[in-house]
């Protein structure tokens, strides 16, 4: 591997043990991928934040104790719980204590206290072509695909090491040639433009796309050209859940695929038509609605709710309130929370009976503490993981259906044009 003098010094331990250890791991990673050099990064998104166990907590503390410090601006992902209102969420104090240790060690290393899984909607969004190291699957997909910045699928705690070293091996999606699409998914004629009025369609297409494409870089043709940021967010999160998607191209939408020619450097290796049958399969995977209308919790904000979504929510309520027969929980980041508070929107939404939490993750909902039996969500990512993480097969609905359900206190869900 060709190393700069600085990189050699890092590996020799001349810039401290933490940077040396970080470089050792990154060097091995480079050897595995047959990489000939490193590339400097301009930013990092730290996803080693949701509590999985003592190993992760001890590791971050070990790095911090070694004197590790991020070499580039590093935003932090969501943690497991709301760091102020964890008790109201009925999380245990042991989880809170572990989360405080995570917070302290990461801040000691110089991380920015953003605590959000939608950093790109909270002021942490790299520019087109910039090299970054991101963990958190939805952030990776969004930053690569929608922003056109360059990251591989890094996992916690590898992104910490990249942030500490300020560089990564130059491979995979850091290299422009590897960002071209191999295959193509085309929306079938039976998926018509009017169907996109139902925003859940983005999730079902994304779920099908991720299932078809797996871990490869492909393109999708036939999507509307004007897509709301929050629908692109949902698409990124859902495609990165059903598949290992790090980068997708939406032809005519995303920056590296403004035309079909831009997305490919040769003819597609394979072309798959995505039809209503795929949508039905995706819906069957994501939505468990057996007709019993009761619903204990309507849970939104995966990835974290944006300012625009808070406005959509207020509009959908149209002055009505959450029914006494159910609850609505919204998960968002501190930055967004403060902004909607300043604009008065937060108080208006709270007066509708909506609970708003910051920092935390919807997936860590303590089902057993609440005795919850049914959940509805508008998130394809949460719906994918819900049974495995929370123990419940959820009902899936778009944001309007989620609000109608919350108001009625029972599931309100329209029949979809693609359903049988």
């Amino acid at each position: 591997m060709q190393l700069t003098d600085y990189e050699k010094a890092l590996l020799d331990g001349k810039h401290g043990e933490a940077r040396q250890m970080a470089m050792n791991v990154l060097y091995d990673l480079g050897v595995y991928y047959g990489v000939d050099r490193f590339v400097e990064i301009v930013g990092c998104h730290d996803d080693s934040t949701v509590y999985f166990g003592e190993a992760q907590v001890a590791f971050a503390e070990h790095l911090a104790d070694l004197g590790a410090h991020f070499a580039v601006p590093t935003s932090t992902n969501a943690v497991a719980l709301d760091m102020k209102r964890w008790d109201i969420q009925r999380h245990g104090s042991d989880w809170m204590a572990a989360t405080r240790r995570i917070e302290a060690s990461h801040l000691k290393m110089g991380a920015i206290a953003s605590w959000t899984c939608a950093p790109y909607q909270a002021g942490f969004s790299p520019a087109f072509g910039q090299q970054v190291a991101c963990a958190e699957s939805n952030v990776i997909a969004f930053v690569n695909s929608i922003l056109g910045a360059r990251t591989n699928r890094y996992a916690g705690p590898l992104e910490l090491l990249a942030g500490i070293a300020g560089r990564v091996p130059y491979f995979g999606l850091h290299v422009p040639e590897n960002r071209k699409a191999e295959g193509l998914v085309v929306l079938g004629d039976d998926i018509t433009p009017d169907m996109f009025a139902d925003r859940s369609l983005y999730n079902f297409i994304a779920y099908a796309y991720g299932s078809i494409v797996g871990d490869r870089v492909w393109a999708l043709d036939g999507m509307p050209t004007q897509i709301a940021m929050d629908d692109l967010k949902q698409f990124s999160a859902t495609a990165a859940s059903s598949g290992g998607i790090a980068l997708f191209h939406l032809i005519g939408v995303t920056p590296e695929a403004q035309t079909r020619e831009m997305a490919f450097d040769k003819e597609p290796t394979e072309v798959v038509t995505l039809t209503q049958a795929h949508l039905r399969e995706a819906e069957a995977e994501l939505c468990n609605f057996d007709g019993d209308g009761s619903i204990d919790l309507v849970s939104l904000g995966c990835p974290h709710f944006s300012c625009a979504e808070f406005q959509d929510l207020e509009d959908a309520f149209a002055g009505r309130r959450v029914s006494e027969n159910t609850k609505m929980w919204i998960f968002t980041g501190r930055g967004t929370y403060n902004t909607v508070q300043d604009s008065g929107l937060l108080d208006r939404v709270k007066r509708l009976g909506v609970h708003v939490f910051v920092d935390g993750c919807i997936m860590e909902y303590p089902t057993d503490k609440w005795g919850t039996r049914s959940i509805m969500t508008n998130s394809g990512k949460f719906a994918t993981y819900c049974f495995n993480k929370v123990g419940i097969h959820p009902v899936f609905g778009n944001i309007n259906e989620c609000v109608e359900t919350a108001v009625a206190g029972k599931v309100i869900r329209s029949k979809k044009p693609w359903s049988n």
């Binding site: 949701v50 003592e54 996992a155 916690g156 705690p157 590898l158 991720g210």
Partner: protein, 139 residues
């Protein structure tokens, strides 16, 4: 016994039972950290235990929390002994690499060609060697 050429990322000498499928996996939500059981009801190995086994799946998918999950599984002793993939992305490689460097713990990670990977379907046990570019499949 079938001998297959493999690419070693991290390897030690071991022989263990094989848990094989053609389904990609997300370690977050897909595996119970405390027990080592596959907990994704959509996965072919659902309810099978991977602790101390050779866990073969074509590639990783989903959450990038996999690195933290594998580190914790190594810490509490529920991790597989080895992982076999067709392609290993950094999400899968992180836990084994970090634990190798920082804690001197070894979780072997091995790659096979797509053609050879399919040959594992009949296998019951796998033997790996630290110093060989071949692995043995026992039926």
């Amino acid at each position: 016994m079938v001998k297959l050429e493999c690419k070693k990322v991290i390897a030690e000498d071991l022989r263990a039972e094989l848990v094989f499928s053609n389904d990609p996996i997300s370690f977050v939500g897909g595996v119970n950290i405390q027990t080592g059981d596959v907990s994704d009801y959509r996965h072919a190995n659902y309810k099978q235990n991977i602790t101390g086994k050779v866990f073969a799946f074509p590639f990783g998918k989903g959450s990038s929390g996999a690195g933290l999950v594998l580190m914790e599984m190594l810490r509490i002793g529920t991790a597989p002994a080895a992982i076999i993939n067709i392609r290993t992305d950094p999400v899968i490689l992180t836990g084994p690499l970090v634990c190798h460097h920082f804690y001197d713990q070894t979780l072997s990670v091995i790659n096979l060609s797509e053609e050879d990977y399919a040959k594992l379907a009949e296998g019951k046990e796998i033997e790996l060697f630290k110093d060989s570019d071949y692995l043995h499949v026992y039926k």
